[in-house]
Amino acid sequence: MLTNNTNTERIEQYLEGKLQGAELTSFEQELQQNPALAQEMAEFQLLLTDLRHYGQRKQMKALLDGFHQNLDQREVEVGLARYRTNFRLLRRKYFPTIAAAASVALITVFGTLFTLDYVRSLEKTSQTNYRSLLRKIQLNQNKLNNLENSLDTAVLNSIAINRDQYLKGGGTGFAVSADGYLLTSYHVVKKSDSIFIESTVRPDQRYKVELIFGDEEADLALLRVNDKKFTTFGKIPYMLKQDLADLGEDIFTLAYPREDAVYGEGSVSARSGFEGDKAAYQVSIPVNPGNSGSPVFDAAGNVVGIIKGKQLESEGVAFALKSPAMLAMIGKLPPDTLKVPLNLPRTNRLAGQKRVAQLKKIQDFVFQVKVY
């Protein structure tokens, strides 16, 4: 046992580089001549590797446990709902008919809430308008109730519905010309006293902007920077697509649902928007309050739409105004609206690049819109 200890000690000292002079020479000599010692050293090294690996893994496990405790149960459920409402999965899991009913129900749920909130926002509109909308809600509510009964309730329960999570003020906007024009959703800036844009990517870029033109029906607003500090946004890397996006096309967005730019991806799920709105797409991008006004890009980095309306914090169904509709609004601007000509970007410098590279370029042109 004693010899064994001595050997282990010498091996360790050798490995730690503490053997010197004659001791070192003799040890190395012994190592060559005595295979048992060499074997012992190999075993010692293996044991230490295992021990260190154990230590690291234990530490890492503790760290992960910490992460797990930090999880926000609500966020997890929202994330989970995204997988559960995945249509492909539903189709596989349930009978096709039920799956179809489920997707209708989802749209109705979101649609109803959408309408509810829309009603709330219509404070100053006329009584008739208000009533007709209310009827619609009741109709939708009835439809929903019927569906709810006929559905596997688990499907519905899985959707985290939180009625308090509506968008309030603030949103996202993106530059459409180097000399200061931006687009956002009209409802974001409708009731503003003053509007500012901010970028967390470039904190030096905080500018006062003014509302140049707003189209309530399309829910689109044109803003322009009105700030002495401002010189230029720089060359815009994307352009507004003149054609329609295809059904199922991969799309992505960059938005400010919080004080931080958030990336989201999905696809074009329908060629029409809320209640058959022909000017909008239904998109499967997870949207959060603050997503309003964020640009929707296709894989090549063209702007194909802008997220509009107010949505629940849940994912699955969102609506985006189509880019041709955006171009149409810009084209129809009353002649005197623009003091400075609006030169839309004519080239796309993002095509063929990886998403990460595209985002790096895009992030400088997407802003948080703050309304005071």
Partner: protein, 189 residues
């Protein structure tokens, strides 16, 4: 103000390589629902999902510590693939046979299936060995090899008269651990 707010795939990979905890936490949060769904859909509990996910996360982390390891797919795909493999294995053990409903792309991992669970096996073996080794050996070895205490500190903490005595004890412990660990490995093989 915070610096660049968008974290790219490369940022997350670097965060795992350099153990940047804030970003790692974000990554952890990001993909847990996916694995929770995977395990939940395939007759597992939330606790099992947590185990599987943490193991997959560890596998990714440990692989990224190797300089020659290159991640050939998205982090998400990798985590899904490893989790899937781990859960398939557990299900097979529980039920004899198993089939998983997939909803994400994945790498099949046919040949490296053993490698996926090897590290956890090594960890468990060492855990058992250290348990059998008992005190004070366990603390001495952990303090010296894992917590980087000096022999003087250890002698002080464990009540040895001097560092040399503690050192002798440490080598005794190490040799005992080696025997125990060999025993465990042999039993398992």
């Amino acid at each position: 103000m915070k610096p660049a707010a968008i974290a790219t795939e490369a940022d997350f990979v670097n965060a795992l390589r350099n153990e940047e905890r804030t970003l790692m936490n974000r990554l952890y949060k990001m993909h847990f629902p996916m694995v929770l769904h995977l395990v939940g859909q395939n007759s597992g509990s939330e606790a099992e999902a947590k185990d599987v996910y943490q193991e997959a996360f560890l596998v990714l982390y440990e692989n990224l510590q190797k300089p020659d390891f290159e991640l050939s797919c998205k982090i998400k795909t990798y985590l899904y693939s490893v989790s899937r493999r781990l859960w398939l294995k557990r299900l097979t053990r529980k039920k004899g046979q198993a089939d998983i409903q997939d909803f994400e792309e994945f790498l099949p991992f046919e040949d490296s299936a053993a490698a996926v669970t090897e590290n956890e096996f090594r960890f468990q073996a060492m855990d058992v060995a250290l348990g059998k080794l008992g005190e004070p050996c366990r603390t001495i070895l952990e303090d010296y090899y894992l917590n980087d205490f000096s022999m003087v500190q250890i002698a002080d903490k464990m009540g040895y008269t001097n560092a040399d005595n503690a050192k002798t004890q440490k080598y005794k412990c190490l040799n005992r651990l080696k025997k125990i660990a060999e025993g465990i490995k042999n039993v398992d093989q």
